[in-house]
Amino acid sequence: MKRIALDEPAVVIIGSGAGGGTLAHELTRQGIECVVLEAGPYLKNEDYENDEWKAFNQMAWLDPRTTSGSWRIARDFPSLPAWLVKAVGGTTTHWSGATPRFKEHEFKALSTYGHVEGANLLDWPLTLAEMEPFYERAEMAMGSTHRQGRPALPANNNYKVFANGAERIGYKRYATGPYATNAAPYDGRPASIQDGFNFQGDKSGAKWSIMVREIPRALETGLLDLRPDSHVVRITHDASGKADAVIYADKDGNLHRQSARIVCVAGNSIETPRLLLLSDSARFPNGLANGSDQVGRNYMRHLTGSVYARFDKPVRMYRGETMAGLIADESRHDPSRGFVGGFYMETISLGPAFLAAFVEPGAWGPDFARIMSSYANTAGMWIVGEDMPQADNRITLSTTVRDHLDLPVANVHFDDHDNDVAMREYGYGKAAELYDAVGAIGHHRTPPYPSTHNLGTCRMSDRPEDGVCDRNGRAHEVANLFISDGSQMTTGAAANPTLTIVALAMRQADHLAGELKRGNL
């Protein structure tokens, strides 16, 4: 593997997930050397476990965090606000695979929805038309089913219930994708064996992840210096205010300084703002690139909610691809439903270990046991929709808890907006209606899980005072600092975000490569 000297000013990418991993692949393919610093270990397909808690303990980001706000997570899972992965490949390791694109109006949330009391809406400085070529490339890279002629995945048991219910209540826009797991062999990887362990890292390699595709290909170029177990603690800058190095701790806690000419931050929407806040200095007293006081604000986590329905016949939802079922009928903007924005319905399945922990946190007794007893006859869906950005939904540095390096951990503050609550209630109702239409004998409304879709916190904006970075992800205040993950999203849209994170990283890579060739960076 390529070794880049610590004193060589390098292109340094922090994080190896959907954003950072894509960027590393695209840049190395264009002949640009990169250092990738990944906080977690290098786990491969053969390391993954077909066991929910074993896999969780193997790959989840378990460094402490704190929570505040009125969201239920602060009560039920106060130290686990988000369910993310700390490993090479980042959260693409445990993502399920749904790849809908954002819609045109979702890039223009403020113009489309108008002023919403308490929400900090803004239009993106990008349009769908500008993103379309990158969506196309991202779908090709990720092997999205139903796109570019790739076949659909077959219907699994959970989908059969979901799709029949959808048809019976008048929905039309249901399908087994788009979904980034191979229905047929593609791109050197096999077809799905329907093993049902997407959330645990897919052992077979049928599922796209940064670990199976972008990292090995970037390494093959001979231009990637991948450093796992390297936890970045500070970005430093020179007297002119340009980023000049990245300080990181290895797994033994020893500090290293990598000289940098460009720094791209892709640590997910909690660690990215935390790192900027930790990188304060006399010039940037509120944190690097935070003159606007926007770093950490507008934290979004998608609406989410699940409905688990019981039947008097077997379903066996755990067999097969976890989320290969989407309904898009409710993803439109239609304020007559009582809220702005839209949502998707997607199949979901948990094993008994996770279902028990998450179906109704804190529950016990005969009613709870009845939910669990019905396991084999249960179908499940996830509701995922746009939540409102709010200035006070925010990542800050904890004043009470420090991590193993003695650095303040992230506090995640979140209050549901009235629009979020209205959309969730409506979604629960439609889900129940759908399952009732195929004979459900009962259902349970499950509250949001620890967040998997973490967005915003360093958002893109045309005007520096409204956000942290520009339309290319470049920090308004630091010319060679880029935000390269879902943190840069101006608003969250309804769609699962990974496809858009990958497309944005591809676009940013083209921009960076061009600027480097032109000598502008």
Binding site: N57, D63, S79, Y174, F197, P352, A357, M372
Partner: protein, 171 residues
């Protein structure tokens, strides 16, 4: 839930939990040791919390052992658990019928002891392969070739739905 109070340090799988339990609570002469009846009382408490007809005592005992291992991690917790278990013994909890036992647990459900037992027992009990089998869950599947040839689509009480996207135009 226990998972929320501290980051899990190891696997919650019942096998690992059992090993820790064996090491953890043996020989501590304050009411939690083997022969004290604490394991049996906790197993009864967990069955009332998570009642599943037709399931043997074994997974409830294993969950009780996981709770005892948790109790013995810290001296303060150990003393508190021993005292709470002694109270339940004094109140005749094990002799209560299901309804009375459930009512008794409801009364104490705000207590720290209760929430710790509930959280730990839930994680251990529903992570137990014997419980999985009882619920109809088949566990790891990759080594068996997944379900692609083993019934991922064997649901036969509904018609086969369309899998391609709707071709009737935009909304």
């Amino acid at each position: 839930m226990e998972l929320t109070r501290s980051a899990p340090s190891g696997s919650a799988s019942s096998v690992a939990v059992e090993t820790v339990a064996e090491r953890g609570y043996r020989g501590i002469p304050i009411g939690l040791e083997r022969g004290s009846g604490s394991r049996k009382l906790l197993a009864r408490m967990i069955r009332v919390m998570f009642p599943h007809d037709g399931l043997s005592d074994a997974p409830y005992i294993r969950a009780a052992e996981a709770v005892l291992a948790l109790a013995c991690e810290k001296p303060g917790r150990q003393v508190a658990f021993a005292a709470a278990i002694q109270d339940l013994m004094n109140e005749g909890f094990e002799a209560m019928d299901d309804d009375a036992a459930l009512a008794h647990l409801r009364k104490m459900s705000a207590a720290d002891f209760f929430t710790q037992v509930q959280g730990k027992a839930l994680l251990a009990f529903y992570d137990d392969p014997e419980v999985w089998e009882h619920l109809g869950y088949e566990g790891p599947s990759f080594d068996k070739g997944g379900y692609v040839n083993r019934g991922f689509d064997d649901l036969d009480w509904l018609p086969d739905p369309r899998i391609d996207e709707y071709d009737g135009g935009e909304q």
